[in-house]
């Protein structure tokens, strides 16, 4: 029988961009990817897409994809066979490990690639080299959420699904510009507004999301804790806390109460008038069901983990966790940032957050992974940006799967200097990126449209990714490349034939996801983990009746406000904030290859307040120079009142852009660098 699907095939899959996990159909005609059509059957987005999702097919089949392994010889990259490349990489990593031990290696995996790849990479690192120096880029987006929410609630993930905001009586968006960064989660807020649910947006900037709000609260950048503490002071002072909930379900109230006593009025820190704070506090406390949605405005600071815990404090104090319409929900940044963490591509946990420090966990993994008893390391591995700092000493060889650190990590100049110090760097990617210049071997992987697998969205829903077309040239599935390396080294347990094999390998060692099978993911409703058994329906809402923490309690913490690591001063008088724009994703590798997205935002720009621009004689659209202690960048001024005087906003996507300026200072608890806050100066460029 003739295959009638050969001329037109719809492949239902998951969008490769943000953590909302929208469904879409890739359209294949005669083996070529020709478009995206709506997948209206998806409960996440009902066929609707943002500009990135709607154009995501365009970046797949471009002539400049990586098609062959490349090896640097005499400072030039030359095409190599897979056999040659795999042999070289396995040999170099083995040699380094034999000579210098497990701390001389570093492994980075991307939150943009499928769970199967993330699991494969961390397994190889741990089995082959007994190292925990494995991390993913959640470290520079929602690492503090994992740390903070784990401390507050016992699980580092979002408590409630996106759609659940429609069951709420008050939606607080704090440091989240969902309309641009998570557009189809933004849509849920738009729907809520149509239902008449009040929306408060707390953001230093009048963002696209702030425009939706019934009340926009502008505050001084990075003063979250002062503002939250002040709210809690008034909630307690007026007796609006949920006493029964606090008694039954939480601990730490006294600690919190004592700390917030000093925050009755701290307008001079956070800039919000006292009456506004009081009104907002009452509104949040009195709402029957209130939900907090937050994002990187909360996390990408040296106080990231404490900021997250402050959101937890507010919710616990008012009894807003553990039922529909409430909760604390981080909007996870990348398509698989939840999943990359879940898979154990993390320096202190195996898949499913099983701590490496616990002997039974190690013993279980050693057995499952055919390892010698006692061989897995118990130490906390080195985190993502700390690994960059350790390049050269003690890290000598590094493996980077699907990341572009030269553009996306803080302080680009520092990253470049560090990568230069490595003896051996492997980059596995789909396109030649700015970081590939620093590699010794570049391996061609496959993108979302070319492989099967899964992405876990920000609502803990495991969404299927389905192969629509073959990868270009000799490219391979990313987990397959890892498997080849492991097998080259003679290791057992890497003989996967399909993505499902990798997934089932992971399931077999991960109790919380054991019940999440490919069969159950066939329909787009799929499953929200935790899902411990095959019969289990999944868990859309966490902490019902009991928190996930060992003692079943939610914990409140007394947390003091601290300044960012670098604040504006006479020499660098502006505060620079960073974020996403709707039309681009991360370092442009994919989005800038889509015509419409390039048309909308072809180059970087900086938002500067009207008064500041006027006083400096800067016109809208003029090129200006922005400098920090770490570097400088030239960009286009957008003059606007959306940012306050002396505050600037710049998007994160561009090479020679904002990360020439950003600060590497770390949050002590989560090792998150302070990407959202640094001090800069602004100069007019003298006319030639």
């Amino acid at each position: 029988m003739q295959d009638n699907s050969s001329t037109l095939k719809y492949v239902p899959t998951t969008c490769p961009y943000c953590g909302v996990g929208c469904g879409l159909n890739l359209v294949v005609s005669d083996g070529k990817l020709v478009g995206v059509e709506p997948y209206k059957r998806s409960p996440v987005n009902e066929g609707k897409l943002c500009p990135k999702g709607a154009s995501c097919w365009e970046s797949v089949q471009k002539p400049d994809r990586l098609t062959h392994p490349l090896i640097k010889k005499n400072d030039k990259f030359e095409k190599a066979s897979w056999d040659e490349a795999i042999t070289l990489v396995a040999k170099k990593f083995k040699e380094t490990s034999d000579k210098l031990g497990p701390r001389a290696l570093g492994f980075h995996t991307s939150c943009r690639t499928v769970n199967e790849d993330c699991y494969a990479l961390q397994k190889w690192a741990r089995v082959a080299f007994q190292t925990n120096n494995v991390d993913n880029c959640a470290r520079i987006c929602h690492g503090p959420s994992v740390a903070g929410l784990s401390l507050s609630f016992g699980s580092g993930a979002a408590t409630n699904p996106f759609e659940d905001v429609l069951n709420s009586d008050l939606i607080v968006m704090w440091g989240s510009n969902a309309v641009e960064a998570h557009p189809l989660a933004g849509r849920r807020v738009m729907q809520a507004k149509m239902k008449g649910i009040p929306i408060v947006v707390v953001d230093p900037r009048f963002s696209a999301t702030a425009r939706l709000a019934d009340k926009w609260i502008r505050f001084t950048p990075s003063t979250h804790i002062a503002l939250a503490n002040s709210m809690m002071y008034w909630i307690i002072k007026e007796g609006l806390e949920d006493k029964e909930y606090i008694k039954e379900r939480t601990k730490g109230f006294e600690d919190l109460k004592k700390t917030v006593e000093n925050y009755a009025d701290c307008e001079k820190i956070h800039g919000v008038p006292l009456e506004t704070v009081k009104t907002f506090a009452r509104q949040y406390a009195k709402a029957k069901n209130a939900v907090i949605i937050y994002c990187l405005g909360i996390t990408e600071l040296t106080t990231g983990t404490d900021n997250v815990r402050s959101m937890g404090n507010l919710a616990l104090l008012t009894g807003n966790v553990g039922r529909p319409g409430v909760g604390v929900n981080p909007l996870r940044g990348q398509n698989n940032v939840q999943g990359a963490c879940d898979m154990g591509a993390y320096p202190n946990v195996f898949s499913g957050y099983q701590a490496v420090a616990v002997a039974e966990n190690r013993a279980k993994m050693e057995k499952a992974w055919f390892m010698k008893e006692g061989s897995l390391p118990d130490w906390y591995g080195v985190t993502l940006t700390e690994q960059i700092t350790q390049c050269g000493d003690p890290i000598k060889a590094m493996y980077i799967l699907g990341l572009n650190p030269v553009v996306s990590y803080p302080d680009s100049n520092h990253v470049k200097r560090s990568l230069d110090k490595l003896d051996f760097l492997v980059i596995q990617d789909i396109y030649w990126t700015e970081s590939c210049e620093y590699a010794d071997v570049v391996l061609p992987g496959t993108c979302f449209a070319e492989k099967d697998g899964t992405f876990t969205s920000g609502e803990r829903r495991v969404n299927r990714v389905r192969k629509a077309v073959d990868g270009p040239g000799e490219s391979k599935y990313d987990w397959e490349i890892i498997g080849l390396l492991a097998k080259k080294m003679g290791l057992k347990g890497f003989d996967w034939k399909t993505a499902k094999d990798v997934w089932d390998d992971m399931r077999s060692v991960t109790p919380g996801q054991f019940g999440v099978t490919y069969e159950k993911m066939e329909k787009p409703e799929s499953v929200h983990w935790p899902c411990p058994t095959i019969e289990h329906p999944g868990t859309p809402i966490l902490h019902i009746g009991k928190f996930s923490a060992a003692d079943g309690k939610g914990t409140m913490f007394g947390l003091e406000y601290k300044q960012p690591a670098e604040v504006a001063d006479a020499q660098y008088p502006f505060t620079l904030m960073t974020g996403r724009v709707l039309f681009h994703y991360h370092t442009l590798t994919q989005t800038d290859r889509c015509a419409v997205l390039h048309y909308e935002v072809p180059e970087s720009y900086i938002q500067i307040n009207t008064e500041d621009a006027k006083s400096m004689g800067i016109l809208d659209g003029e090129k200006i120079k922005v400098k920090s202690r770490r570097g400088e960048t030239i960009t286009t001024a957008r003059v606007t009142d959306d940012v306050a005087p002396k505050v600037l906003f710049m998007a994160m996507h561009f090479a020679q852009g904002v990360n020439n300026l950003t600060n590497t200072a770390l949050d002590p608890l989560s090792k998150m660098p302070e990407l959202k806050h640094c001090a800069v100066s602004v100069e007019k460029i003298k006319e030639a």
Binding site: M1, Q2, N4, S5, T7, L8, Y10, P12, N25, V27, S29, D30, V34, G35, E37, P38, K40, R41, S42, P43, N45, E46, G47, K48, L49, C50, P51, G53, A54, S55, V179, E180, P183, L184, G186, R187, M190, Q191, M194, A208, R211, L212, E522, K523, P524, V581, L582, F583, A595, V596, H598, Y599, E600, V601, P602, Y605
Partner: protein, 383 residues
């Protein structure tokens, strides 16, 4: 020899297909015959994807493979018309058979006006459509209003003003009016639609008006063109299909059903348009101010045709990269489609910002049609 204007009952002579298909399987049989007889080179039809809430278009060249397309999917809200030009370049110049509901048909007619498709090469088998329900809404509706697990539903249909489901252990119908009052039911554009029997296709088929011993066993076919008459006659001559004249009482009933649908359509137009009339500008301004420029309303609109070098044209009124979208972003589209919006609803259904786009453009079109000569000539349909 059947003639244009005739009304018949028709059913397949293939007992297996009759079992699988609905109402005598005439539509599937006609398409099969069109392929077998090389009347067409390919058929564009719709099949079931992951379940009965998932409608997926397919291009079929093997007549046997058409069986998979038998049966209706009221929860499939896809539009086929633009697929012909967008995704089937190899079919250019070839003969195509298509199953069309009213909006698919209107879309094809609009493309033909723009010379993007050649109607001589297309055989349109029209199917009656009282409106469709978006899949996620349908599932929620079945959970909330029917108290049934939507995964257990085996069949759904819209009949005698009711949305009826069959499921493991029973069947249940609720009036569409009641469902729509409660915020469920058909898409809002479908509620306003008045092209329920697609008479500008070559054949208009459906189950309305099939009564007596043929009820449920035959399809009502109205022959709308010479092309349609020829296809049907040949299929009968080839002993693929049997026909008999439609029961006059059945013809009356069919007209009544259509009349009731028109009335309902008029009710919704009155409801939607009268509410909009006094606050038109401010409503458009307010609603479109949420636009996130996904371009779906342009890309998926069957009557929007853009320039190849559109991204090279600088605009004085629509600044790239700026949110909310400048007002001209939507005004220029409303202007472009003013005399050709077919009210298919795709723009609105696909809008991530929940802007009631079809409401606006349908309102503009209906008022425009009352006053102006359309630029591309009068349409064969009115909606």
């Amino acid at each position: 020899m059947a003639k244009k204007g005739e009304m018949l009952y028709a059913w397949t002579n293939d007992a297996n297909l009759a079992k699988k298909a609905e109402c005598g399987g005439a539509v599937t049989e006609l398409l099969k015959y069109a392929l077998e007889s090389k009347t067409v080179d390919a058929v564009i039809a719709v099949t079931r994807g992951v379940d009965l809430y998932d409608a997926v278009p397919v291009i079929v060249t093997d007549p046997k493979a058409l069986d998979q397309c038998a049966g209706s999917l009221h929860c499939g809200t896809i539009l086929l018309s633009k697929l012909v030009t967008e995704y089937a370049p190899k079919l250019a110049g070839k003969k195509i058979g298509m199953v069309v509901k009213g909006c698919d048909m209107m879309g094809v007619l609009e493309l033909a006006k723009r010379k993007l498709v050649n109607l001589d090469n297309i055989v349109m088998i029209g199917v009656n459509c009282g409106g469709s329900v978006s899949p996620v809404t349908a599932r929620r509706m079945i959970t909330d209003k029917y108290g049934v697990d939507p995964n257990k539903v085996t069949k759904e249909e819209i009949d005698k003003g009711q949305f009826i489901i069959e499921y493991e252990g029973g069947h249940k119908g609720i009036s569409v009016d009641e469902l729509e009052e409660a915020g469920y039911g058909r898409r809002s554009n479908c509620r306003r639609c008045k092209v329920k029997i697609p008479r500008q296709a070559d054949l208009a088929c459906g189950n309305w008006g099939v009564i007596g011993d043929k009820a449920g066993k035959a399809t009502f076919v109205e022959i709308c063109s010479e092309k349609g008459a020829t296809l049907l006659s040949k299929a009968v001559a080839a002993k693929k299909l049997s026909t008999e004249p439609a029961n006059p009482k059945g013809i009356e009933i069919r007209a009544k059903v259509e009349g009731a649908m028109y009335k309902l359509g008029d009710k919704w137009r009155k409801h939607d348009f009268e509410a909009l009339a006094p606050v038109l500008w401010e409503t458009i301004a307010k609603e479109t101010s949420r636009c996130m420029k996904c371009y779906s309303c342009i890309d998926k609109c069957p009557v929007c045709v853009t320039l190849a070098d559109k991204f090279k044209q600088p605009s004085l009124m629509i600044r790239p990269g700026v949110l909310p979208a400048d007002q001209m972003f939507h005004l220029r589209r409303f202007a472009h489609i003013a005399d050709s919006c077919i009210n298919c609803g795709q723009c609105e259904e696909l809008c991530p910002s929940e802007i009631p786009l079809a409401l606006f453009s349908h309102a503009i079109r209906t008022e425009e049609d009352r006053l102006f000569e359309p630029k591309l000539g009068k349409s064969a349909y009115t909606n």
